[in-house]
Structure formats: C-alpha cells, structure tokens
Symmetry: C2
Subunit: 371 residues, 2 copies
C-alpha cells in the first residue's frame, strides 16, 4: 500500500527549531505562590508493585521491572514503583487481595488466578482454544474487552490493564508418546486451570505443582508430563534433561496475557499526567513482553533442538480434535457461572468467531503460504 | 502455566496509602531560585508532526493523532505535538526530508518510501514473504532491528521508532479470475514497491496510482486489479462496487510497520523525561494500530461478505509458489545494493528463518489446530 499526496503542499515551512517556551512566574508573583507551584510540580508518589513471579523471573518478572523504569523516567522520578517478587511482601497468589486492600498500589499477575473470586477473570488471561496474543489484544483494546474487565474488577476496587503476553505456550514435556486419545488416559500431567479440567475429561490426571517441583517430579516418575511456558523458560528449567518428547502446539494457553492491577483510590490520587504515564507504560509493556518471548523463544528452540537433541513433535490431529470438543464444553460451563461471566463469554466468543474468519484470509493464510 | 510462591511471605504489609511526599522549596529559598525552578519545570516544547496520510485517515492517520494525545497528557502539556496531513505542511513523500532538515520535528510514514535515499529502508516496513507483525516487532525490539535502523537513518539526522502495524494486507481486488500463473501475464495491477517488481517478473504490469484514483481506474478498466490495505480501509474506498473478486492472502506486505521519524537535534534538546515519553508513546502506538486493524478488519470483512456479497477467494497454491520464488530473487537483489543493506538483510533473514521454525510449532501450529 502506498499513498501519494492527495493535497498539494501548502508550501515548505522554514527550518523550525523546537520552540522553547519558558513560562515561569512573572515579577508580580509572590514567594509563596512560586513555592506552592514548585511544590505541586514536585509532588511525588512511591508505589509498591507486588508480583506472582520470583523476582526478575525471565519475561514474566522482568516486564514489571521495565514498567517501573519507564514510569520513573517519564515522570522524572515523581512516581517511583518498587517491584516485589512473590513472597517478598505478599505470597504469589495474594497479589489480587493486596492490591484490592491497598497493601500495594499495584500488582502484576495473571487474571485466571482469581477465578475463585470472580469466574469471569478466566477470560482475561487465556482459555483453551481461545485467542492468540494479537487477537486478545484486539479484543481488549478495540473489542470491548477492557470495559468488561473493568466491570469484573470494579467490586474489588481494582483497575486492570494488560501487562504482557507470552504468545502461544508449548504443549509440554512428555515421558511417553501421545499417539492417540487413549494415550491421555491415566496420564499424570502437571497442567493447571481449565487445561487441567479438559485433560481430566479426556481421562487424564491433572496435577498442580509449583514450578520448583516440576523437574524432580518428572525425574522420579511422580508425573508423566508437564507443561510450563515455552522454549525460553523451559530451557532455563532444564526440562529436556528429564523428559523425552516436547509436544506442540499448546492448545491450553494460546496467548496468555498477564495483567497489571491497580488500586483504584491510589490511581485516583495521581494527577492526570501520572495516570496517563501509568496507562501508556502498561500498553507499551504489553507488546514488549510478547516481543521478548517471540525472540527468545526462537533462539531457545534452536538450542533445545541443536544442542540438546530434543525430540519436538506434534500432537496427532485426533487428539487435538478431542481436546477441542472438551475445551468448548468446559469453557461453556464456566460461562454459566453468573450473569457477568456470561456477558464476558458472549463478547469473547463473538470476537473469536469474527477474528477467526478474518485471520483465515490474513495471518493464517499468509503464514501457511509462506511456510 | 501457573507459578506458586517459591518464597514464603515475609509478612503481610499494613494497608499503605500512597505516600504523598511534597518536596517544595524550604524557607531558605530565595524568590529567584524558586522562580527558576518553576520555569524549568514549565519549559515547554511545541512540535510539528508531518505525515504521509490524509488528515485523520482511518488507522494510518488516526494513530499519530493518538500519539499526540498521549504525549500531551503524559507531559501535562509540556510537549505538544501538532499533526499535519499529507500536503498540509509538506507533500506526503517529503516527510523524510522535512524531518531530516528540521522543518518538522517528527514524521509518520512508511520506511520503504525512502528506498531512493537508502535501499536498506525497505526492510523496515515489510517485504514480500517477510515477517508478520508479531515477528517484525520482535526483530525490531529484541532481534537487533532497532539498532540497524538507527544506523541506516543516522546520516540523515533522523531517529526512527516503530509507529504501528496494519497486519497482513489483503491480496487485492481483481476484475478477472486468477487460476494459474498464466493469469498474471499482462495483468495491469496497481501494486507499488517490491510487490510490483515481483508482479512484473511474473509477466504482469505494475502500476503506481494514488489512492484517490484507484476506484475510477478499476471502473473504467484502466487497471484490472489493485491492492490497497485490508477490509477496513478497502470497504471505506468502496472497491467492492467496481471489482469482482477479493483475493487473499496478501503475500506482498505481510505485516507493514509504519514509522515515526524524529529530528535528532530536536530530540536531544528535550529533557530526559520528555524523551522517555516520546519513546514509550511510540511503543504503545505500535501495538495500538495493530489492535485497531485486527478488530476493524474483521468487522469490515463481515460487512463486505454479508452486506455486499463480496466473493473472497484464495490465490491458487502454484501462483503463491511462483510469487515466492520471484520475491526471494527480488529481495536478494535489493540486499546487494550496498554493505549496510546487506547487513540489514542478513539480520532480517536470520531472524525470519529462526522465528519461522518457532512459529511452525507455536502460532502457526495452534491457529491451524484451532481453525
């Protein structure tokens, strides 16, 4: 696409250096007035940001650190944000409560962790066979998702914002081959949330384990399989040392969006410029994390394959088909939890249908033609 | 993926309201000092931003307006950016020169327009069978693309930043069926740039036409076909009224990234906080435009199909294969322009190979499994 001038130039402007307009106090200002103005300009805020990740955990944990840097630079230090790893101030899964109560002004986590408080939250991270990262961000920003998300969190005094995306997660590491739906029967797999529920209905045994216990559990045979994130984080965990096969695609979390949560009264105490700085930094970080994962994941995949000889293989199509049918069942059941969840689901489902039809003739068609 | 607390809580913090630290002048301050401080805080800048799009053109033209709003809000009016449509201050294709010379402090356009000045620029918008939006943003931010881009523009006193993405563009509108490579022979199609060069090698006749002349040229039969952007912009132009078939996928621009260009001396005159505000706003807009296109394109596609009965059809695989071979030829030839272009191409090609391998097991595998 190329656009030519539709309108003729109104004339070349002269070289214009940036105009430096200095609007200080004039001579009539009294000392008190000038001091007050200076004081308002200098008003500063110190925020705590609690996270569900170990401090500086690659990708998930480094994104809120970059957010804090951005906000600090843009506000010239008027809003400083101190980032806490999981357990430093509150445990990983108390981030939502801490922000709701104002213990911390901000949190960085995943919305689906709060399904016990509000089932609708599960639609704001990723659901099995749901939206890709690009689709998710479109729904949130231009498809009505943001407004619904704010409605879901309003009773908790929390304002949510997108906080980064991992992209499509990998299907996981398996110690046995998956050649048919029957191979899922009896499979002990570390897979949390809705994905775990789907596996259960396929005859498997979903297990919830903290990240730090995965390696040993696979090694001892306590579990047969595990999902984690993708090549970048999986390589760091050394999972290739204790599992034979690396399966794809990850059907259970096709574009997991993280979240910033903000205590509403704290946000409202900020002057308008600092509010805008928080919003725009969150928006920038949402793409930043995806860019990082897209890049680091591909480099890590090369290392896994070439250096560690990992056997990367696809789930058979009939297995994916079965998981898809079961996923639709599970997600539809979740949507029946309450009126608000139903409303969120309807918006999500409608967006998914339409964007799917569009991506069939754009992203999907192109990437298949290219590769 | 779910991460449990790895470290126990160090104890629940008390409810902490945001600390309001007021650091004004103390009593020893003299009037002059306070006035000087206030003046520095108030120092303001007025920038002009020239674009290659008609004022407020949907998507391409509204993104720089949103950028200006973000910067204005975040800086509390200390940096105001006035956006000019094509021809209002300088013609569409003089944006680069205007920013280079300082006629305007900023521009919003597409890098491939400047191939006459520096052939390497063509890699920073989109090339035939190149990167998707997500891949492009990964390359720019984490794959070394940004550094190379800065090197390419350095001789022109210009600092480049990503400025939004249209996603995969559509293959275009055709008045005749494309059933084989032979049907490209003699085809008069409005398709600019490298895509046009590829069509030429396939036996077609590429034509360059401004947007405003496309409709009439199709109607009178002066051209047989045209590409434009995608459903959102194509619907607005009414192209469905004068062309029979809407083809996909767009192989020629698979994820066109727009650019902000900034006059370097003007940027360096900004204090650090305003520099950060410009950088972060550009990063946020880069995703913002893609989110808008992803959403509006799918709604527009529904309208084109359901309301206007548009015949949407795929290019035959052998046509795509032929175009791909020719595209590789053309892009490789461009890379031989000079040493710097070769360096950019090597980085781009290397990224494409690796990310392709990763997306085969992630994005591509998932979207094919889902749909």
């Amino acid at each position: 696409m190329k656009i030519k001038t539709l309108v003729k130039s109104l004339g070349l402007g002269a070289i214009a250096a940036a105009a430096l307009l200095t609007a200080g106090c004039n001579k009539e200002c009294d000392t008190a007035g000038a001091q007050q103005a200076a004081a308002q300009e200098q008003q500063s805020f110190k925020w705590k940001l609690v996270t569900s990740w170990p401090k500086n955990f690659p990708g998930l944990g480094t994104a809120p650190e970059r957010f804090a840097d951005m906000v600090n630079e843009m506000s010239a230090g008027r809003l400083t944000v101190k980032v806490y790893g999981a357990g430093e101030l509150v445990p990983a899964l108390q981030v939502f409560d801490a922000v709701s109560q104002g213990t911390a002004e901000m949190g960085h986590s995943g919305a689906y962790y709060w399904k016990g408080k509000t089932p609708a939250s599960q639609f704001f991270t990723s659901v099995p066979f749901g939206l890709t990262a690009q689709e998710m961000h479109g729904w949130i920003q231009y498809g009505g998702g943001q407004q619904l998300w704010e409605e879901v969190y309003a009773p908790f005094n929390i304002l949510p914002m997108p906080g980064g995306n991992t992209g499509v997660q990998m299907g996981g590491w398996f110690n046995k081959e998956i050649n048919s739906v029957d191979d899922l029967k009896g499979l002990k797999m570390r897979i949390p949330g809705l994905g775990g529920e789907v596996l259960k209905r396929a005859g498997g045994t979903p297990v919830t384990l903290p990240g730090g216990e995965i390696f040993t559990s696979l090694q001892t045979g306590a579990i047969d399989a595990t999902e984690w994130v993708g090549p970048y984080n999986d390589l760091a965990f050394g999972l290739y040392k204790v599992a034979k096969h690396y399966y794809y695609p990850g059907w259970h979390e096709p574009g997991s969006m993280m979240e910033f949560t903000i205590n509403k009264p704290a946000f409202e105490r900020l002057p308008k410029d600092l509010q805008a700085i928080v919003r725009v930094a969150a928006q920038a970080i949402n793409q930043d994390m995806l860019n990082e994962y897209t890049t680091r994941n591909h480099a890590a995949l090369v290392e896994l394959k070439e250096k560690h000889g990992v056997d990367v293989r696809a789930f058979p199509q009939d297995v994916l088909n079965k998981l898809k049918v079961l996923s639709d069942e599970v997600v539809t059941e979740v949507s029946a939890s309450d009126e608000l969840t139903k409303k969120v689901y309807e918006s999500f489902k409608n967006y998914r249908e339409q964007v799917k039809a569009y991506h069939e003739v754009s992203e999907q068609a192109y990437i298949n033609a290219r590769d």
